[in-house]
Symmetry: D2
Subunit: 352 residues, 4 copies
């Protein structure tokens, strides 16, 4: 069986990454490649690394152009997905790499995005433990089976939720004082041409942004952790921009409940991910580095219990464009369509 | 008056930075330049950027070679300073860039360094508010006046203490749950030739280390914050290695006491640093980037109050080798000797 | 048919890249993974990005351990290959990523390597035009069919020969004044732990090395160009170290023969590579960037005729570890064994 | 005596670097700080590293605002300098960091810039040997004494001319086949917000541009070499963009005349620069790295004679914004006004 896939937003980094991975997916044929301002261009002008696709012509992002595919990937600006999705048949699998359909709480959406919420779609993070309330030992994966609308998680939430959810799902962590600091490569900001994203500005420099709870990924992280915990979890989240193109390193810490020791902490994480293909708890003593996962759909995780501070510190590394966006999207597609979950995602991290 | 200065450990990054700054100090003449394994070499072989000093010959780090100078800078491995200092006259100003004399608590020293403590010297962070117990409105600067032994703070503690001390000195923050995550350039690890510090390993990659309370700078940070708070402060500190040569970006957060608002927070930081030459609280809305301070003795700071999480998040950026090591050392020297505090330290950040 | 492959030198960058690619090769099963000083370690300790192979144990590089495989990849220090190869049966395909068997002229070998030459093996650069003397329109590929000993080209020669050989094979260029300047990522220097390869030294810095004809790849480049030209070609080659982990950008220039115009130049390159899967002459106006090919076996090439200077300038970009080493090795293996030439090499460049 | 200086184009990288250096110039008081689209902003918004100047307000670039200063620095787009300069008194020292007044040949100007030539000003590269025709042993410095209009060289020409002029001035090199390949940091492209200059695009990547003789610095390089040689010199020049913010590494090669040996080559360079404060021929065996000179006005140079290829290869490293632009401008100002030539330029390279 060959699946046909259309990719919108193909001129950007997320769209380019979807195409890079689909080009090697054994079950997928790439159909329409769409964008807006660059419609009419050869793909090779905008994504010169996609050499076998270089002569494909980008067409306008219209319902007509997207129609007639089994899967449509949306890598559009926030707020643009709902309308496009509504015009596609229910039988088409629509996978939205944007934020529009991730949040369950319309008020949280309005507070951070200042527009009407477009509705919640199944959340495309298959490895997420559902927690006690969701069913002990069960994962988000089951909610993607047969789905025809999927919301791809944000890149920071992917790294933060993979880092902390096992502890909350197992009831080991206090819900009221989570601190997360993440460092992201610049591709997370997209291909938008802004002065502070110039190479001259970012090379050799680190800087924070969205500090103080203002980053739009904060409610998404809280939502995931709260669902796993079965109670509201409060998060202080600070993203920083690092001098690298790809990768997110997240340092996530939470206070550990009384009488919880290092053994039960370690057991929670290892049992959560022991059977996972893409999420790896590293052996004791080895810590994540983003280089381990660049270009791959893998996440690597390590944790330590700081008894003095009463906190668990979890470190996770992903590639923001792969596991954090396009890889997660394709993995979710595979699950929804009943394909091999890892199909097209076997590339390993490009290191050094 | 011309001061003569000897610099030991001149082959490493800290020693090189001391020399880079001293070369332009209006009141200092550089005397002996010493090291161990590279003794006998031209300085230009090891520090080729120090062009006017290129033909100076490195001599062995011995008491004889260091004697007879007004100031001796020690940039030696941990544990080597005490013996050297003991052999120098009390009238010689000895400035130790190593850790040996920073900690006040011999037990903390032993726990992290596994050796006998060599005694505490005045701590070379002039801008540090002493807090209520130390005298409201007073600074560490006064303890350096006329000093003849000075312990230069670690680079992480410099960035963390500048970030958080104003809040603790003003009694605005809870002492029991500080979380600090710092990203450092690779020069912080010194010129030691280790595989994980190779360019191929660090470029394009971020990774944590010393996670879980194990980094030796943790007790030093706790000591400074506790002194300012007048009560024990507990810190979870996670350092990360960033793909850049220089710079530390620290994200420091603490829970804010009840009834404390953003205005009193901001006032505490602005009043702490309003008169300082090198420590700058940025205007609202502008956030630190390490690029602002590379090669300079400046620190830049910004803060935000996350009411939802009940935390203040403070961001600080310094150059680990300048304000974090050699610049702080020279600033302390200037104070101790009654020179202009900023002498030799007028260079601005090299950006972009 | 499944091929079994052993990889020696598995702790280094070249060996790691061979394993990264083999892990996704549809026809290959990875057998022995060998090294010397790290024998006994889990592969995951040394190559943490190779997650599915992390628990494999590295064994000592001995003939016994390498025996019994269909293919043996040698990623050993120069001078170590001959002995290992001699101990393996003639029927085993031995692919040497080292320099030992690349040069045809024993004197050139001795001049640059100061040891006895170990003999010449077929040169693993399939796309290399053989030139008039070798047969117009024919390629090096044919010499690899059925081969059981293959010498993988050096990374710089791969980029330089792909850049210039079409012009020499077509008789369009003067042989006596070629100038080549290449910029390489630091992984080209291997995982050897040397001070000048530290991240602190290479980030934000460029530097030349082996200037003045001393680099060992110079005779290899001259050999390839001379074979294509049918007369001796003289090359001035200067390598430089660039602040990136991977990638080579080569700028290669040669004087153009009288009466040769831009059309015939362009035609020579396009006809040389028009049918190639991995070597791409970009559309006019688009220039190579190493980012286009990182992690992939692709090479991208563009040329311009500077009539004022009478020179053609050819720019080529490859990934030094992939097309420049491990990818070229596997491509050659595929040809030698009659597999699909592109098997296991379908990954596209990881950009941005 | 205090000199008053106005700086136009203060929002860009060149203008910012002029300000960074002037802020520490002992004889200069900074007057008007002007720009166009950012007029009305605090300087700290655009140049946050210039902390002591942060509260200065940028004013519009008008003759009124620039008038009344002893020196006016122009860091404006090409074509904008002539009109501004014409409106300033002849007694005002006008230093143009743009290209408008560098070329002596109006036809060359028109060919590369497509506008009418605005006239030639004394060329601000003091160390340039004038060659036999200009007077053996004499330097460009003498032409700047008392000058009131100065054209600052381009950054690439600064690095290329410092590299090759000694050989041409001494009559040792063939004039008809110079090949120059330079790698520049991204700040050389200015703060213009273009997609190919985004951090995500340039980090980890190298690419050429302006290939084939099209770069506007080509005629400027040829002009300087021809003047030194006393005959027309032909240059093939290829610039490349490197993943670093600052620095130019130039590899410049020329064929050596018959019977010229390595000793006379070395002697030519050493005698040309032996007395210079900012241009350093490194000891044999040590090669330039851009890190040696970042943030400083220094240039470092090394050469090798490749007898096999009959070429001298000269490597030079400068900081494109300092020696290549703002430092050279201030050095020229110092000469023109009779100040100490090195005033305000004593900062050493910021390494590592």
């Amino acid at each position: 069986m060959t699946i046909t896939a259309a990719v919108s937003g193909a001129s950007g980094y997320a769209g380019g990454e979807v195409l890079r991975l689909l080009a090697n997916h054994p079950d997928v044929e790439i159909g329409a490649i769409t964008a807006h301002s660059s419609a009419g261009s050869r793909l090779g002008e905008l994504q010169p690394h996609l050499l076998p696709l270089a002569d494909r012509v980008i067409v306008e992002t219209t319902t007509d152009n997207l129609a007639g595919h089994d899967v449509v990937f949306l890598a559009l600006p926030h707020g643009a997905s709902a309308e496009v999705a509504a015009a596609l048949p229910d039988s088409t699998l629509v996978i939205d790499a944007g934020a529009d359909h991730r949040l369950e709480d319309p008020e949280a959406w309005f507070r951070f995005y200042r527009s009407e919420h477009a509705g919640t779609w199944p959340y495309g993070l298959p490895e997420l433990p559902l927690g006690e309330s969701g069913g002990a030992g069960r994962k988000q994966r089951e909610k993607l089976l047969g789905a025809r609308r999927i919301a791809v998680p944000g890149c920071y939430p992917t790294s933060a939720l993979l880092a902390l959810t096992p502890g909350f799902a197992a009831g080991l962590l206090e819900p009221d004082d989570v601190v997360i600091v993440s460092a992201s490569g610049t591709s997370g900001a997209g291909k938008s041409v802004k002065a502070h994203l110039l190479g001259s500005e970012v090379m050799g420099s680190m800087s924070p942004y969205g500090v103080g709870g203002g980053h739009r990924h904060t409610p998404e992280i809280e939502q995931g952790l709260s669902n796993a915990a079965g109670e509201p979890v409060t998060v202080s989240f600070t993203p920083t921009l690092a001098p690298m193109s790809r990768g997110i390193l997240t340092t996530a810490t939470a206070r550990v409940k009384a009488d919880v020791g290092v053994a039960s902490l370690r057991a929670a994480w290892e049992s959560a991910y022991g059977d996972e293909q893409f999420v790896h708890v590293l052996p004791s003593g080895q810590w994540p580095a983003t280089q381990m996962v660049i270009g791959s759909n893998n996440a690597v995780i390590q944790l330590a219990f700081d008894e003095h501070a009463g906190r668990v510190i979890v470190s996770s590394a992903i590639d923001n464009l792969t596991k954090g966006t396009a890889g997660g999207a394709i993995q979710s597609m595979n699950i929804a369509l009943g394909l091999n979950e890892g199909a097209g995602l076997n590339q390993l991290g490009v290191a050094p």
